[in-house]
Subunit: 408 residues, 2 copies
């Protein structure tokens, strides 16, 4: 069988990720690679650390990408922190809360979960009272839950964890670069981001940051690989229970991302180029300006959706500004609509998971995809397809409402 | 702090990886991304599976990349196969044998190692007799050990494993695409490759293949993530001990790489483009032709090295054709020579690890880096730098010997 040239169709990607990649990032990806210990490359690794610190709004020493997709970042942090039997409290308000619980269980934590209906979030005081009751070593919580389009306020939770000497680990995959993630101000101990959403870099890296509280705990289990360890390394680690994963061992990764530059993996060169350029684009725009842009296009999209006669699944304070969930009208085939939008317009929106599969559409306004023409084209495509499937829609109103808003 | 534009210096990369990336692969990386469930993208996932089967020389159903660097592929296979207490036999003949042992220990295997001096490999019959003695569930073995430049013959070992009903897991990171890796013919049950060496794709993906023997064992612990599992899934998995890692759970990855397309991670889009194009380049050249090209430039390099008056660390049958290890002459500072080669010529060669650090240089002839002009320029740079550091070298002979060989 012969596999031919790539022929990539033109798409407007309005899912909650992966979203369109910034053209400057695509260009950076095509640069020739450098050796991993070439000073020109290790300088770039340091650049990326400095850029990520700004994006995470932290003065943490440690901020670097895990070479894997977003959940690799989550697993690296949790695998490195959890000792078997540790108590971890996980508030679950959608699919990705279950993911956190599942990762912690696999690393043999004693997992306590609390759940609220999909589409809701927790009052911080509910979580804080559960922390006091269960006395966990770690609280692991999702910030932006893309499966339901909800955002969990974290400031009070982070501060309570600090006061109670509990580690607070946050999944900020859907929010980093799209809305406030204030690592230091909110007292978050470890934060995991994703590249393929609001940073508009391709999937395949997971930027993380963690503070000295986390570092201290990890270094209690520090290990250097036998084939490269010195005698001193081996003496130091005698009797220690190592972290259960080699690939996700943040102790080894700190040795690689510090002046010691002890080889662990071979850093994913091209992806690092992309992340460096993507982070520069984010910071050139400015974090606050970028968050405002996300809010602007989210608002325009909502105006259009409502003018069409459709309803939102989530609104108000708990709504994640980077994902808009729309209720599928009765008797409309959610997946058929998505297929027609893709086939006829090249516009991609998402369905959801579990209890919400087929019941909502999820429309992302993330990163480079979050642009006026994308919002307008998505509204036009959705309206036209709904009309063709026989749904009751007020024709023409969506675009006029969005344009009115943009031209206000 | 402002981080400026990338300025990537021009390099000739002659290390054992990462090596220069094929220009067609670099171009592919800069293509716009697609959504992960866009049929245009899932078709490309299937293309990559078909291409990888050819490269691994297998009819296995399963051949796909792990989204991580090479050791992510090793950890995915071992984490998914090992149940705590399983016996794993690991023949160690360099750094990467230790890595296999360390991964298996972390996943709580009962690890049996056998060691030979760095620079040697095992007689297959030694390994086979150790298999008979220790009766392991799994043998994990490195094919090409880049730390010493040695290659372990696998055919007899693979066949013995099959006869004895032991699973044979192979680290072919340094050999895939550079020399014979005959998965089916040699009865290898799981093989892990790397992208950044002889495939000349950037680091960040690890192509793997495994057969139905491995699949069966993994499916005994199959699990579907809670947030997306059906009632049937949950009933089936009751009472099972899950694989210790979520990210490396090959059971979930099979669901993602099959028509069920059950979301696990978001496939690293751009890297998949790169792997697809890199695999096409490999197969267009032809595997046998490509292996001959590697042998040709290796031979030219060796002619030059010897004509300069330097000695090889490894020769003959056990020499890995994609890495040439050169003894550092007495009183020569190995790292200073490498630094001068990089600073003045932009040529990068490698040092080694552990007992060989400072004692050998390692020169790769891998993938797109394995070209006549690269071999000649490396010889020229090495000779000139050695002369400047006062080493005793016969000037001019290296290039003439290599050119004589090329023009034979």
């Amino acid at each position: 069988m012969t596999i031919g040239e790539m022929n990539i169709p033109k798409r407007t990607i309005m899912t909650p990720g992966p979203v369109e990649v910034h053209p400057r990032v695509l260009r950076a990806l095509s640069s020739p690679v450098l050796g991993q210990f070439d000073p020109a490359f290790t300088d770039m690794m340091n650049d990326v650390m400095a850029l990520l610190r700004q994006i995470f709004r932290t003065t943490n020493k440690w901020a670097f990408p895990i070479n894997g997709t977003s959940r690799a970042g989550l697993e690296a942090v949790l695998a490195s922190l959890i000792k078997p039997g540790d108590r971890v409290l996980i508030p679950i308000f959608g699919r990705f809360g279950y993911l956190l619980a599942e990762i912690c269980e696999r690393y043999r934590a004693d997992v306590y979960t609390m759940e609220c209906p999909w589409g809701d979030v927790f009052e911080p005081k509910e979580i804080i009272s559960e922390i006091k009751r269960t006395k966990p070593e770690i609280v692991a919580v999702v910030h932006g839950e893309t499966s339901t389009g909800c955002i969990q306020p974290l400031e009070e939770i982070g501060r309570a964890c600090r006061e109670l000497d509990v580690l607070c680990v946050v999944d900020a995959v859907a929010t980093i670069g799209g809305t406030d993630v204030n690592t230091d101000e909110w007292c978050l101990d470890a934060v995991v981001g994703g590249t393929q959403k609001c940073l508009s870099v391709p999937s395949g890296m997971a930027p993380i940051t963690f503070n000295s509280r986390v570092e201290k705990r990890i270094n209690e289990r520090k290990k250097v690989e036998r084939g490269i360890a010195t005698r001193e390394d081996i003496e130091l680690e005698t009797g220690r229970l190592p972290i259960s994963s080699n690939y996700f061992d943040l102790g080894m990764l700190m040795d690689y991302w510090s002046p010691r530059r002890l080889n662990h993996h071979t850093e994913a060169t091209s992806m690092l180029y992309g992340l460096r350029e993507g982070a520069r684009v984010v910071l050139e725009e400015g974090l606050s300006e970028r968050f405002s842009r996300h809010r602007l296009h989210e608002a325009a999209l909502i105006k259009g959706i409502k003018a069409m006669g459709l309803e939102l699944f989530t609104e108000d304070q708990k709504k994640l500004p980077t994902v808009t969930c729309v209720k599928v009208p009765d008797r409309v085939d959610a997946d058929l609509v998505r297929k027609m939008m893709l086939d006829d317009f090249g516009v991609e929106i998402a369905s959801s998971f579990g209890p919400l599969a087929g019941k909502i559409w999820r429309i992302g306004t993330m990163g480079y995809s979050c642009r006026k023409e994308n919002v307008l084209f998505t509204l036009a495509a959705l309206e036209a397809v709904l009309i063709r499937t026989g749904a009751s829609v007020s024709p023409g109103n969506a675009l006029q409402a969005a344009l009115d808003f943009y031209h206000e």
